[in-house]
């Protein structure tokens, strides 16, 4: 029972080593790339589409819709980053149904890398949307005194993102291992099922939080009125469309 997959070294020659985290990360990457390539090889717009295309379309459309609802903005620029995060974490956690597989998220290195990507993406999207001055001025609101707290909150939420994902996956594996030693029959199976659910929920939450952080940096002042606006269901489509049109 290891606390991290990094300690599981599979191959080593001098300073170059291959640990389980890297191996399983590569496996997930290969699966995702190959699946996407095979699925998008023969795209068609006809009535008859392949099951893979259907799956990918549902996935992309779902992620777009969620980003649109959460950030209240056009999901286009955020889709590649958020979607990649979600799909990677989701598939990593889902593949635990195969025996012998360890999710790469069962390593603080992987989750810290993902969280650092979010930390770096927030200023990137913010500057791209608002310009350098516009983005940096958001650190000084409402007063200059808040500057240390803004910086501190960026760092702590990055730490929280990493530790949350790692802790959930790690606790699931630990519970599975401990239960296997205590009650070996049937009960660990239920906990494994719960663990699959938790893995998906954590992937969703990681993506949602990344969206919230990025969107809040990219929309510092213009979205205040939209919270107040009533949203009648019949005019929702129209208001969203007009909102997209007004965006620069």
């Amino acid at each position: 029972m290891e606390l991290s997959l990094d300690n599981l070294v599979l191959w080593q020659r001098g300073p170059v080593l291959l640990n389980a985290t890297m191996l399983y990360t590569w496996i997930v990457m290969v699966l995702l790339v190959a699946g996407s390539w095979l699925g998008t090889r023969k795209l068609s717009t006809g009535a008859q589409i392949s099951p893979w295309q259907n799956l990918l379309e549902v996935l992309v459309a779902g992620v777009r819709e969620q980003i649109r609802q959460i950030s209240q903005q056009d999901p286009g620029p955020y889709l590649p980053f958020i979607g990649t995060l979600f799909v990677f974490i989701s598939v990593s956690n889902l593949l635990t149904i195969f025996p012998g597989y360890h999710p790469p998220t069962y390593s603080l290195s992987t989750t810290a890398a993902l969280a650092l990507c979010v930390l770096a993406a927030v200023p990137c999207f913010g500057i791209a949307r608002q310009g350098l001055g516009g983005y940096l001025s958001h650190y000084l609101k409402p007063t200059v005194l808040m500057l240390p707290f803004h910086i501190l909150s960026e760092l702590t939420r990055t730490l929280a993102l990493a530790v949350r994902l790692f802790g959930n996956v790690m606790s699931g594996a630990m519970i599975g291992a401990i239960l296997l030693a205590v009650v070996p029959l049937f009960f660990p199976l239920i906990m494994q099922l719960l663990e699959l659910l938790i893995g998906q929920v954590q992937a969703f939450i990681f993506a949602v939080l990344a969206t919230v952080y990025i969107a809040s940096a990219a929309q510092a002042h213009e979205e205040k009125r939209e919270v107040i606006l009533p949203r009648p269901n019949t005019q929702e489509q129209g208001s969203q469309k007009s909102q997209e049109d007004t965006e620069p």
Binding site: L3, Q69, A160, R164, G167, V208
Partner: protein, 92 residues
Amino acid sequence: MNAVTIIGTVSIIVAGLTITLGSIAPALAQGRAITQALAAMAQQPDEAATIARTLFVGLAMIESLAIYCLVVAMILIFANPFWNYVIAKPGG
């Protein structure tokens, strides 16, 4: 009682206390959050999707407090730096 015994004893006791005390407050908080969300959903079934999504995110953020405690407890038991230092020191 040498250093190894003291560190081992204290680590195990504190790990148990960490996870015990650290899960009480998140449990109460999650209970409150779910109660409020259910009440809100019962009053406004149209907004159930939005409420459920926010509820999930909020629950995860509350739950992460308990997860921090779990990580600290796990570090105390499985990867205790003081324990490793005392064991590595010759003549411990």
